[in-house]
Subunit: 351 residues, 2 copies
DNA sequence: GAGTGTGACTAGAGCGCTTCAGTACGTCCA
DNA sequence: TGGACGTACTGAAGCGCTCTAGTCACACTC
């Protein structure tokens, strides 16, 4: 009951009566043969059920796999609960897809990154790392394979292309705006400083030793304005629920903060809800600022003041970079994208 | 300035002074050689910077690519705005990742599915299709390549493994509960019935000819209880914003519906907001029911009555099915998962 | 001491494709 | 008429690996 072997280039070549090279050319270099012959080859291929050159064999021969690996710091559901990540990833996907490249996803499982075994077996010839801890084993595994790397929101490793935004400056911008409105009692909400699942107030020593550049820069941008004594609450992930719980804790301190600076919009949405939970109002009683400017920020209740970073553009740039590295290009200088403060109704001077 | 060629199995074999097969065995069948030799091989490999067998070459030789393709109906950001999809995908990813398989993502671009070119070049040896329109070109492309297919939430194509839930029954369940509470004036909100981006009220003829099985079944489940005359609003995507706009429209009709049946939780969240927008209260003035029971449903304000489907389980099952097909297994009977109604505070008898 | 294992390693034939260096046959121009 | 050039196609050498069918040496058995 052996099912018929799948047709190969040879099968088609034999059927048409030409050499294998010619059939290959029919698919890859149509200008190398006469239109008539090409036509005949395609027809025969179709009638034999040949669906084109096998991608794996092609990859082996060309030494290009036409795939871009994407390494995530967390599991998929956690990752995609984060609208910012989704938008970045979408920008990346459209870029590489336009060049007939696939995206190979490597979800985080092990110490803030994909498992090294997963990395070792992935068929990709360039890898994009998104917000992994600086010491993720997955990064070492990519290195070991000698694949080029593009990092997003992460310190550049040696010989690595990078796209990033000015997280420190952006955070400073938001904090400064609030300061100028007259706020003096702040609370800061950050997402993971370490990949250990911690939720709660952050000790100064933990603040100083973070493994994620993004949280570090945003946090320090806030504190640069509000002062080192500002209470900081850490959420293990950037989720609305965790943000809600954290904000509730921060707002229960006394004296109560008049402004909450959140390291992401998602956290800020939670904070908005927490303020309501406590029977208070935004911005009358508490101002709330976010970071990212995801689409939902504009439609939040009230519309959220936040730091805009060009998310889709970030993904697109990473895609371009990846494509360039694929072509043998050199990493070059990091691409740095501008941020700006978007003032909406969730912030106002304190009463 | 030609950079040194990457080491291969042969390089290592030469350096150690054994045959290539032995080095291969050191990686793949440790029991085939003495521990001492294996140790020596691994050391030499490490010192040469050899990171293990090349995945592409291995795939060509074994004819397994250790990758599972995943075809999406929409772009990534749209897809992942949908918590249900994220959870399913996460379940799938954990399953296949546990078996050292990667996930190759193919985002929708063309008529409700990935582009056929993308499919043709993807290095995967089984493909999971999630909620694509029944006639997506991508499906045909997978067929042409002769790859096994697992479909989630879609009618089984010939010779295809399938996992699904009882969408019709679940929708009926929710509608019936509301009916029994005394509701008689309903509004129904559905996500895309066709891949044409339509937002607005749905004509009976459009209701009858939908390309997505899921929306069809849920819609008909609702209408089976509420009657064919019930106003139906279609949102192009399952998003909170679109749901909010749709619900606002539905609630502006007169007489105003006392209950809104939503084909997804995301849509229902929008509806919750729309009710507030209009100065009304849930459930006192309007009852709202969702579908999926994503985690946020429990924390919504008020907590959402919804139809629970085992999302993670759905992904896991799809993963198992994919793995089985990879092993040459036959598709077999569709896996059907149970749904149940979760009653929370967003529904109550009408005033 | 012939027969029978058995554990450790190897030779070499693929896997299905790309690509480079040809060959064969016109065509064109002087 | 002969050489230069172009176009259309072919032969064969890889790409880096796996895996089957060995070989070889060294016990062990009766």
């Amino acid at each position: 009951m052996d099912r018929p072997r799948k047709p190969t280039l040879d099968t088609v070549a034999g059927a048409v009566g030409v050499s294998r090279a010619t059939v290959s050319n029919a698919y890859n270099r149509p200008d190398q043969l006469s239109a008539a012959l090409r036509e005949r080859i395609m027809e025969t291929a179709a009638s034999l059920g040949y669906a084109g050159p096998d991608p794996v064999a092609r990859s082996l021969a060309t030494r290009h796999s036409a795939a871009v690996g994407f390494m995530l710091g967390q599991g998929l559901s956690a990752s995609f609960a984060d609208a910012a990540l989704s938008i970045v990833l979408d920008g990346l996907a459209s870029t590489v897809d336009g060049h007939d490249h696939c995206l190979v996803l490597m979800p985080g499982r092990d110490k803030g990154g994909p498992r090294p075994e997963t990395v070792a077996r992935a068929q990709a010839d360039v890898v994009v790392a998104y917000s992994l801890p600086d010491d993720a084993p997955a990064l070492a595994a990519v290195r070991a394979r000698g694949l080029p790397i593009v990092v997003i929101d992460q310190p550049a490793l040696l010989d690595t292309a990078r796209v990033e935004v000015d997280d420190f400056g952006g955070a400073r911008l938001a904090a400064a705006a609030l300061w100028e409105m007259g706020h003096r009692r702040f609370g800061v909400m950050t997402f993971a400083l370490h990949a250990d699942g911690h939720n709660g107030l952050v000790s100064p020593v933990r603040q100083a030793s973070t493994s994620f550049r993004v949280s570090r820069d945003r946090l320090h941008g806030y504190l640069d304005v509000t002062g080192a004594g500002t209470p900081v609450w850490e959420c293990a992930r950037s989720s609305r629920e965790l943000g809600r719980a954290g904000a509730r804790a921060l707002l229960s301190e006394s004296p109560r903060p008049t402004a909450l600076l959140c390291a992401s919009d998602e956290l800020a949405f939670g904070a908005l809800q927490a303020v309501r939970d406590l029977g208070l109002r935004v911005p009358a009683d508490v101002s709330v600022a976010g970071f990212d400017d995801v689409p939902a920020a504009e439609h939040a209740d009230p519309p959220l003041t936040t730091v805009r970073q060009p998310l889709a553009e970030k993904g697109r740039q990473a895609g371009e970079l990846a494509l360039r590295l694929l072509d043998g290009g050199r990493p070059g200088e990091p691409t740095r994208l501008a941020v700006s403060l978007v003032s909406r109704d969730s912030t106002a001077p304190p009463k």
